[in-house]
């Protein structure tokens, strides 16, 4: 099942016209609009959306991607911006794209319409623009939330030549159109694309309907899913319980220790090698006198996301200290570039022998 989601800034009628043809292939259409959208525009969107959300202003759109995609329940998700539409060719291709099992993410060509609704910009950088907008809804889907970014690249991906059409340069030339000093070439859109673009570009809201505006989702609720959010002190609660691992190591030996990690805080941890907030298990080595001799232990990626209240069993790679002796191995979690959790001591004695 395909979910279509859209974050629409201003013109609801235009977004509605763009989304309407997708109803034939989508199992659900979810639209988020800005808090102050006029009632007639809101009514236009409500007519095509299965779910309509109003959200408080954010710093930038990408801060909303994680939250927006969490509203979706389909196996696949297609995201459109409020000033975009699917070309008729893309609409026709969608069913076969969704059938493929050997793809996790599609990069769809995007055509920038300029200088009029019948033309587009074929040259770089506009003509080579591809957007990761169609993806499986699974644990690999992740958004950094940095300004101007979309979904993080995911393997395996494929290209889709059938384009999304962007009206951005026509609607906001000051932001998106080629600068005047630059001479750019334009090409004619084919008739089907031109007709589709014209229909969306000139869509107007009808008279105000009887739509009931949904309550506004506060910015805090949206940003709670943003990868770049600051974590509160309530996030840094965890318990690491060692379950197996050697009591004797050789100097410089690297071995896995199995631990069970409990997320007792109020934030989900995304897991993986590079997903923010980047929270990873690690450890410290203390000598017999209680002095820390290795503070920054090796890091091991969490093998899966871990929600508040959840627990996961996993191996943590441990590197023995460089000198023989009796030590205490103390496991903990670290939020990279921020702080250690200082979890309740999950320690065990380890004897390190000469190699």
């Amino acid at each position: 099942m395909l979910s279509v989601c859209c974050l629409c800034d201003d013109n609801g009628a235009r977004a509605a016209a763009a989304l309407k043809p997708l109803r034939a292939v989508a199992g659900e259409v979810i639209v988020a609009v800005r808090e102050g959208m006029p009632p007639d525009e809101l009514a236009a969107v409500a007519a095509v959306a299965d779910r309509l959300e109003r959200i408080a202003p954010l710093g930038w759109a990408a801060q909303a991607w994680s939250w927006l995609h969490r509203q979706c329940s389909g196996d696949w998700i297609l995201r459109l911006d409020g000033d975009e539409l699917c070309s008729p060719a893309l609409l026709a291709a969608l069913p076969s794209l969704l059938e493929r099992r050997d793809v996790r993410q599609y990069a769809i060509s995007r055509r920038w319409l300029w200088p009029d609704e019948g033309s587009w910009l074929p040259d770089h950088p506009w003509g080579t623009d591809r957007q990761r907008r169609l993806y499986r809804r699974d644990a690999a889907l992740h958004f950094s939330g940095r300004q101007g970014t979309g979904a993080e690249p995911c393997f395996p991906a494929r290209d889709v030549p059938e384009p999304i059409l962007s009206l951005g340069a026509l609607l906001r030339p000051e932001r998106h159109a080629p600068g005047r000093p630059r001479r750019v070439r334009s090409a004619a859109l084919d008739e089907a694309d031109r007709a589709a673009a014209r229909g969306v570009l000139h869509a107007r809201a009808d008279a105000v309907g009887d739509v009931v505006a949904p309550p506004v989702v506060p910015a805090e609720a949206v940003l709670r899913h943003w990868a770049g959010r600051a974590l509160g002190p309530g996030a840094y609660r965890a318990r690491v319980v060692p379950v197996s691992g050697p009591r004797v190591l050789r100097v410089g030996e690297q071995r896995p220790y199995h631990v069970v990690i409990h997320n007792e805080g109020d934030e989900p941890w995304p897991g993986g090698e590079d997903r923010e907030p980047l929270i990873r298990p690690s450890y410290h080595w203390l000598d017999a006198g209680g002095t820390t001799v290795v503070f920054d232990g090796l890091r091991t990626a969490l093998p899966a996301p871990l929600a508040p209240g959840g627990a996961c069993r996993m191996p943590v790679s441990v590197l023995a200290p460089a000198a023989p002796g009796g030590y205490e191995l103390r496991f903990d979690l670290v939020h990279e570039r921020h702080r250690w959790f200082e979890s309740p001591a999950a320690a065990q004695p380890v004897t390190v022998q000469a190699a």
């Binding site: 099992r101 050997d102 793809v103 996790r104 990069a107 770089h124 003509g127 080579t128 591809r130 499986r136 644990a139 690999a140 690249p153 393997f155 395996p156 991906a157 494929r158 290209d159 030549p161 379950v243 197996s244 050697p246 004797v248 071995r255 896995p256 199995h258 897991g271 993986g272 093998p303 899966a304 996301p305 996961c312 069993r313 996993m314 191996p315």
Partner: protein
């Protein structure tokens, strides 16, 4: 969610039948591929249990056949068992709950080498490790490197349940037979570093001559499973029976799904075209260049940073400096993809040229580079 259990083996059929029996009720499908050198008339016990039984042409090591073996499976999950392994009770419990498991791509199972008797195992490397034997049958994530002693490519998200597999090699072989394995595996192409192989393979197969700590006891709940499989030698004599129509799969069919298959000359055909004519960059500046790559050859390139045959988009500056960008996904014959090649401008000001071509790492460049992209370096 459905479960396939697969097994590629040359082990005695009576034992293999006992290895598979505990999962029979849990598996929607059991697929067994027998080394074709085994007398087909002895396969009766396995034929009685398996939904699909084939004989295949074995070459050097079983990992060569894993891509092909898994392609025979139709379940949503695939568990691979060897003919000298035994499931634990907790693994059976895990399998019984799999139909509700949607959030994991792979389960890593604890591997326990039984030594010196059925009631003990060696709880330390190289005999004890986690192995991702239970994988989602997802063509987007399931892939096999195909080198000796390798398993499936790791996929995210994963789980490490306390659900072990027991290994019987020591209990069903002689030290002499295990030494033969050591000599064989030391010369096979491995997915591990040579120094690791030289150290671990002899110890792995010959715990009797390696140093190790005291073996750990097998939980009482698992001992009956182990003893039952070991008892297979008693019923081997009853196992004979003439089997007809066990399909034979030649090496060519197995090899087609082996990552390290020989690549024919006809594969190295491509169109590689940067979609930018010229660039202006600062010294040392990194930028992305969209390059259209069309596969005009006869092979599918798997893409990614590690998958063999490792074909990547390469670029070369006139002074010989090179760089690589991985293909974002598989690229089949006739298919095209735009790759954002990451290049770094030379440190010298002036006019430069950079060409793009596909490269089969450690083998060859394709020789399909188009015209050079002109790069003017300033500042």
């Amino acid at each position: 969610m459905t479960l396939s259990v697969c097994c590629a083996t040359a082990d005695p059929p009576a034992r293999v039948a006992r290895v598979l029996a505990p999962v029979r009720e849990l598996a929607d499908e059991i697929v067994v591929a027998y080394d074709a050198r085994v007398d087909p008339d002895t396969l009766g016990p396995v034929a009685a249990l398996a939904d699909r039984l084939v004989r295949f042409e074995f070459r050097d090591y079983v990992e060569q056949a894993l891509g092909w073996l898994h392609s025979l499976c139709s379940g949503d999950w695939i568990l691979r068992l060897d003919g000298d392994e035994v499931v634990s009770r907790r693994l059976l419990e895990l399998l019984s709950g799999l139909k509700h498991e949607h959030d994991v791509a792979q389960f890593w199972l604890g591997y326990r080498w039984l030594y010196p008797d059925p009631g003990h195992w060696l709880a330390e490397p190289p005999w004890s490790f986690d192995t991702n034997r239970l994988v989602r049958n997802d063509p987007a994530t399931m892939w096999f490197p195909g080198l000796c002693h390798t398993v499936a490519e790791p996929a995210f998200p994963a789980a490490y349940p306390d659900a072990p597999l027991y290994h019987l090699s020591w209990l069903v072989s002689t030290p002499q037979a295990l030494q033969v394995k050591v000599e064989h595996y030391l010369v096979m192409p491995s997915g591990h570093a040579p120094e690791v192989i030289e150290q671990d393979v002899p110890a792995f197969y010959r715990p009797d001559v390696a140093s190790h700590g005291a073996p750990a006891p097998v939980p009482p709940e698992d001992l009956p499973f182990i003893l039952n499989v070991l008892a297979a030698s008693h019923d081997a004599a009853d196992a004979r029976g003439v089997l007809e129509d066990v399909p034979f799969v030649p090496w060519a069919d197995v090899e087609r799904r082996w990552a390290h298959r020989p690549i024919p000359e006809t594969a190295y055909r491509a169109r590689v075209l940067p979609l930018v004519d010229e660039l202006r960059l600062r010294r040392g500046e990194r930028c992305q260049v969209p390059v259209r790559v069309g596969n005009d050859g006869t092979e599918t390139w798997p893409g990614g940073g590690h998958r063999a045959p490792l074909v990547r988009l390469g670029h070369r500056w006139a002074d010989g400096a090179e760089g690589r960008t991985m293909l974002p996904g598989p690229l089949g014959p006739g298919e095209t993809v735009v790759v954002d090649a990451v290049i770094e401008a030379p440190s010298r000001r002036g006019r430069h040229g950079v060409t793009f071509d596909l490269v089969h790492e450690d083998i060859r460049w394709f020789g399909c580079a188009g015209p050079a992209l002109r790069v003017e370096v300033r500042g």
